[in-house]
Symmetry: C2
Subunit: 357 residues, 2 copies
């Protein structure tokens, strides 16, 4: 079992990566302080893995709550199912919540942990590629609001992240592709060599070839850990992890949560960020083409939905969390392998990008 | 203007206490970093003081949201009115929320600040005695759940607390009494001299005699600040601030939020805690009588509602946040002026107390 650490002082925690983590009690027991555990899962992942996890945790008093699957359910009323279950089963401040599922389950279980009795422990057990390489690490938790994605939440770190790569075997191809959008992001923002490696290996990862998959997950988690360590609550550099996300969140909000997978929207948004960076003169047309090509290989979209107009983007991007005093800030590329947060771009270039997408 | 500090490292903040704070821009401007401010108030306090506060903040871009008054509205749907207003007016992470009102407004505005875009700044402007001496200081924020009071929330410190004692002039007598229950609590848990002073001065405070009122508020805030500094997230000693609250929360939940004022329920609960402490042999019958007498002088209840049975208490107290692994923990008195958290009490004594109340 490969182990990485996210170093955040008293909030530090391990990320375990490997095959079979779900079945290994030793990965869980150091991080559970009470006798009671609440598994939060959904109606797709639960039937596949809850039984295994319960077996692993057989020394504890385990309850579970099964949420409906999908981003469209990442809202208050679904979150409240977790609170109802915790209160009905009389879970105390010493309970431990375990998020078993993808990013939506992790975000909601994490926010429930942050706010139940003003904070209880939680462990992330991400079962999708996207959540394994991105959302389970770093402590961002949230639910959506009709007017904006992830607008209500907390920075709240888990006690551990258990990544069982075997859980990807039951994942739909479309979900693997969505996860790859975030994997590719790490290459683009911080690691040109990793991007080049991905150009060669992306098909192997899609096919779940173990060595390629493992390298991609480890590299992604390590990149995320280093950025989060540098800026836990996104006062600065952490924002680069949102490459493509401002455009992407606008797409998700416009289309209705759940219509586009998060990773699909991020892929389209990343192409827009790359095109804007090119129009600013920072990266070449060839670099933009490399980015589009790798997304094509993943069967990911390289443009937004036809139904969205530039004014739709403008309106929805105005409530982005990176907006400061009315000024839109975007994550752009100064070169392939280096991202930065920028408010000083040519608005006409942005309009051109939005018109073209 | 008297100034106290709550020392919590990078989360330290001042408490300003005096007449006219609401009209003093210099108390606010050091704690507002952006241009936008959202005042959160209710339909009772807003008409009285929002205009004054807007005048004080005339250099800023001020929006406001007016919540319905009352503990029965301290729930998700009212909280969501704050999120709606923030998003509709496009408030960014650099906004500052100002809670103008009593404990309910402070708890909700604080939790909204803790979770809007994963955390924005907020300032407490408490306008009731209870919120001035207790709930505005220390960073506890929460909403209620049908199965338990304050079950969903966060520890999230304000940037400043502005206590304008003039705002008490418009407060109902019943609300002054409710606040006095928490003032008396500080004497009981940590300061026998203050309790003795209160026995002499409680009528002056009720009549809003400025010197007595000011001393009571300063002493209460200082006591709260010292306890919070010692234990910000209630891992230990902070729990003594909950003297009477486990019983009191059970009463509030049973009767329906808003039927009993929080301070009224705390008074009844404090008598129960005192009676249990007496039955344990720790305090005298005379001490219990002194406690009942001071509550009587305040026109506060000294027993729970007739409709509640011992089993109602048992059921509702079982979900208290101080419960650990199924074991009920109560704040009891080892002497008048000294409280401690106790799970090692005689259950028969508790039953006797509940039967008698």
């Amino acid at each position: 079992m490969y182990e990485l650490s996210v170093e955040l002082g008293e909030r530090s925690y391990p990320i375990y990566i490997g095959e079979g983590g779900l079945s290994n009690p030793e990965l869980f027991s150091p991080h559970i302080r009470g006798q009671k555990v609440m598994i939060v899962t959904n109606d797709v992942v639960g039937p596949l893995y809850e039984h295994t996890l319960r077996e692993t945790l057989k020394d504890y008093d385990v309850d579970s709550v099964v949420l409906p699957d999908g981003e469209e359910h990442k809202n208050w009323s679904t979150l409240n199912m977790i609170f109802d279950a915790l209160l009905e089963e009389q879970h105390s401040r010493h309970t431990t919540i375990i998020a078993l599922g993808g990013g939506v389950v992790g975000d909601m279980a994490g926010f429930a942990a942050a706010s139940y009795q003003r904070g209880v422990d939680f462990i992330q057990v991400p079962t999708t590629l996207l959540s394994q390489v991105d959302s389970s690490v770093g402590g961002k938790t949230a639910i959506n609001h009709p007017l904006g994605k992830n607008m209500i939440g907390a920075f709240y770190q888990p006690k551990a992240v258990v990544i069982d790569t075997l859980s990807l075997n039951t994942l739909a191809t479309k979900e693997i592709s969505a996860g790859l959008a975030e994997v590719i992001k790490y290459g683009l923002i911080r690691d040109a060599d990793f991007f080049a490696w991905l150009e060669v290996n992306v098909t192997n990862i899609k096919n779940l070839q173990p060595a390629a998959l493992s390298h991609a997950i480890r590299t992604s988690c390590a990149c995320k850990a280093r950025v989060v360590e540098a800026d836990e609550t996104e006062g600065g550099v952490r924002a680069i992890l949102n490459l493509g996300h401002t455009f992407g969140h606008a797409i998700e909000t416009h289309e209705g949560y759940g219509e586009w997978l998060h990773g699909e929207a991020v892929a389209a948004g990343t192409v827009m960020a790359a095109e804007l960076s090119m129009r600013q003169g920072w990266i070449s047309a060839a670099s933009v083409e490399r980015i589009k090509e790798i997304f094509r290989m993943c069967l990911l979209p390289i443009g937004g939905p036809d139904s969205m107009t530039p004014s739709d983007y403008a309106r929805l991007m105005a409530v982005d969390k990176k907006v400061v005093e009315g000024s839109l800030r975007l994550v752009l590329l100064s070169e392939l392998g280096c991202a930065f947060v920028c408010s000083d771009f040519d608005r006409a270039h942005l309009d051109a990008v939005l018109t073209g997408n």
